[in-house]
């Protein structure tokens, strides 16, 4: 799998003329990578993800997956929003099956596949519950299972843990790394949380604001298998500080 964006530009018409949200964004993600995009609010990172998902069209430039141009949303790019976006009238299992049902997979095969991914996210024992009976972290795990069940080439996540409390968030970080290791799914994550980006990713794109473009690409130098303890290592703190400094410089530029 090879996902890349080539010279992506996005303009929005506003009352005060055209707003340039993205200006020439180039990035690439390879099979099995977990890559984050960080940037201050207004850096166009959500717009970028929506264009990759095919929910919005770029003004110019293109998104390519395995050499083919993206022309709309599709099940090869799973999406997880910050809000849980579950189907409230369906049980947990039916939510997990939903993408498979849309694609016309036989019922038994759906159930088998959904059960496997509910197992991965630790919700198998909740299969018969409704979304409103789940906690915030469980809802987000279900949203991830539902996206994974269609076995997308890449999982796109838009600030997926932004609505969770600090403890749940930390658990979910560990959980996402486990899912990533177990399934080998390629993940592109958007966040404004620098610590989250360092802890989870192998590479981080730092976006600059107004217009959004890639300011720097940073390789995260941490072992592939990580747990909480690495957050206290000097190495981790230095890399976090490095990214924070980049964002600080960006803020200073905007304020000036």
């Amino acid at each position: 799998m090879h996902l890349e964006t080539i010279e992506l530009r996005k303009c929005f018409p506003t009352r005060r003329g055209r707003l340039l949200a993205l200006d020439g964004v180039n990035l690439h993600i390879e099979t099995g990578e977990l890559v984050s995009i960080i940037g201050a609010s207004g850096s166009g990172k959500t717009t970028l993800l929506r264009i990759i998902a095919g929910l919005e069209m770029p003004s110019s430039g293109q998104v390519m997956i395995d050499g083919r141009t993206v022309e709309g949303p599709g099940p090869d790019r799973g999406l997880v929003f910050q809000s849980y976006t579950l189907y409230p009238w369906l049980r947990v299992e039916e939510n997990a099956c939903f993408g498979l049902a849309l694609q016309g997979m036989p019922r038994r095969e759906q159930k088998r596949r959904a059960a496997a991914y509910l197992e991965v996210v630790g919700l198998r024992h909740c299969a018969h519950l409704y979304p409103h009976q789940l906690s915030g972290g469980m809802k987000q795990r279900l949203a991830i299972a539902r996206a994974l069940a269609t076995e997308p080439k890449v999982l796109l996540m838009d600030e997926p843990f932004g609505a969770l409390d600090a403890q749940t968030k930390e658990t979910m970080h560990q959980f996402l790394l486990e899912v990533w290791e177990r399934t080998g799914t390629t993940i592109l994550l958007i966040t404004h949380d620098v610590e989250e980006a360092v802890f989870l990713s192998q590479r981080v794109y730092v976006l600059e604001s107004a217009p959004g473009r890639v300011k720097q690409e940073v390789e995260i130098d941490l072992p592939r298998h990580r747990d909480f303890s690495c957050k206290r290592s000097l190495n981790f703190l230095q890399q976090r500080e490095n990214l924070l400094e980049l964002l600080r410089a960006e803020r200073a530029k905007v304020a000036a």
Partner: protein
Amino acid sequence: MALSNSSLQAMQTGQKPTTTDLQPTVFWRLAERIPGALHWRLTVVSILAPLLVWWGVTQTPWVDPRFLPSPMQVLQAMGRLWQEGFLLRDTLASGFRVVAGFFLAGVVATPIGIGMGAFASIRTLLEPLIGLLRYMPAAAFIPLLIIYFGLDEAPKIILIFLGTVFFNVLMIMDAVKFVPKELIEVTYTLGGNRWQVLLKVITPYIVPSILDTLRVNIATSWNLVVIAELIAANEGLGKRIQLAQRFFRTDEIFACLLILGLIGVVIDVGMRYFTRFTCRWAFSKSGG
């Protein structure tokens, strides 16, 4: 530590400090529930008080019972109408018209409302027309309906249909606006097409709103059936009221009014329970 005046006074006078200032009013609590016991007591009062006033007024010598019969006389009239078989026959006749007209209106309005809510093009196409038709009082169509369809069941059912269908459409259209955009988008990324989004996401999401719309608007059809029957009918509660007027039987008029109200309440409560039962997910505190 600050002490309020009343607790200071209480201490000075040697009484135990009261907690009235810490536990404020129950009756006037803003936007909060009231205790169950108070709820039931207030409910009983809300029914008994008007009944008592009614009864009291009819006991005074200044009120002619031919104009305002007492509750007991109304109850007797109701029993009489029941024994003579009119009550059941008229209720069934009115009920049939309401159900038929309203069922038609619901079946027609639901797809149009969903279509208008989901597609800006269809909304633009139909909204001006429906916006205008909605403000034409349904009762004003009666003469036309009689000319077109005569005096049978058809004009009455069509009247109820016309009087409710446009409101249904507009309210269902509004409900579609509350379907979260992200829920639709996530469906596309799961491989859904537009048709599937319409039928498998938007429609199930607004089922509780549709049922609620129907519940609110069935009151209008109950209204219209009486109007239709007052003008031309062989039976029905509206017809019964009209006949009672001719023979100056105010007790029967009151009896029919009471029946109309009671049936309305039963329909309303029934629909509420039905919605709660079939769409339990919509009544939980946190949604999906």
